[in-house]
């Protein structure tokens, strides 16, 4: 975004550009003694995004465990810098972003690992591992060529 002193409010640096700030709303089923965003939330995954193809649909619910999130005042600047919002909460809050044009780059506020189960691993991690496998193949090809 080319904001030299962009920071998270959590670091308490005195920066004038906190692009990550405390969440304003708690989730409805927040856990007792849990952070503001804890427990489950329904969210919308935006069609046409990588996350949408990973999760296979628009309606999703995910587990959270956090107190901080994207400062929505910077949403336009995040987008101008190339990040695309790929999931939103019920009130339109940014819940996931990704980088179009990148082979696989997704960041989420929710934690898919919290709802992954041994018999049904979360699609998010299946897709990530597949991407890593494809990447390894292209790298080893490139390395072989470089040696010849």
């Amino acid at each position: 975004m080319k904001i030299a002193d962009a920071d998270s409010a959590e670091n308490n640096s005195g920066s004038s550009h906190y692009v990550v700030t405390p969440l304003s709303c708690a989730l409805p089923n927040r856990r007792v003694d849990g952070p503001k965003a804890s427990g489950e939330e329904h969210l919308k995954i935006l069609p046409g995004t990588l996350l949408h193809s990973v999760c296979g649909g628009e309606d999703d619910s995910e587990q959270y465990y956090c107190n901080y999130g994207v400062n929505e005042e910077y949403e336009k600047q995040f987008q101008a810098a190339g990040l695309r919002v790929s999931a939103r909460g019920i009130l339109g809050e940014t819940r996931a972003v990704e980088l179009p044009g990148h082979r696989f780059f997704i960041a989420t506020l929710f934690q898919p690992q919290l709802s992954s189960r041994p018999e049904t691993p979360h699609r998010f991690f299946l897709a990530f591992l597949r991407a890593a496998m494809r990447f390894r193949k292209t790298r080893s090809k490139r390395n072989r060529k470089a040696r010849h």
Binding site: S8, E10, N11, Y65, C66, Y68, L99, H102, R103, F104, F105, I106, A107, T108, F110, Q111, P112, Q113, L114, S116, R117, P118, P121, H122, F124, F125, L126, F128, L129, R130, A131, A132, M133, F135, R136, R139
Partner: protein, 94 residues
């Protein structure tokens, strides 16, 4: 034999954090489902600050930014994410 997929988790592992345990578990369960061997290593954020970080990061086929801020080194975490972003390395941050 298929070579293991190598995943580096950028973050400061704390055994008492449920989300850290869950990150390891989700990766191993996903690899078992895909029937591929997996190698996972946590990469402490201070180790990602210096000039040697690129060599460390290049060893992995995919990089994860773990939950659990504040990190021991915020700069190290940012450098790691920047590497994944600018070098087109498979990346998730959760």
């Amino acid at each position: 034999m298929t070579a293991a997929i190598r995943i580096g988790i950028m973050g400061d592992f704390e055994p008492i954090y449920h989300s850290h345990f869950a990150t390891n578990a989700a990766l191993y369960d996903a690899a078992a489902k895909l029937k591929v061997p997996l190698e996972v290593r946590w990469l402490p954020t201070p180790s990602l600050e210096g000039p040697a970080a690129e060599k460390t990061l290049r060893r992995w086929d995919g990089l994860i930014a773990s939950p659990g801020s504040p990190y021991k080194s915020f700069i190290g975490m940012l450098r790691g994410i920047e590497f994944a972003r600018t070098r087109d390395w498979p990346f998730v941050g959760t």
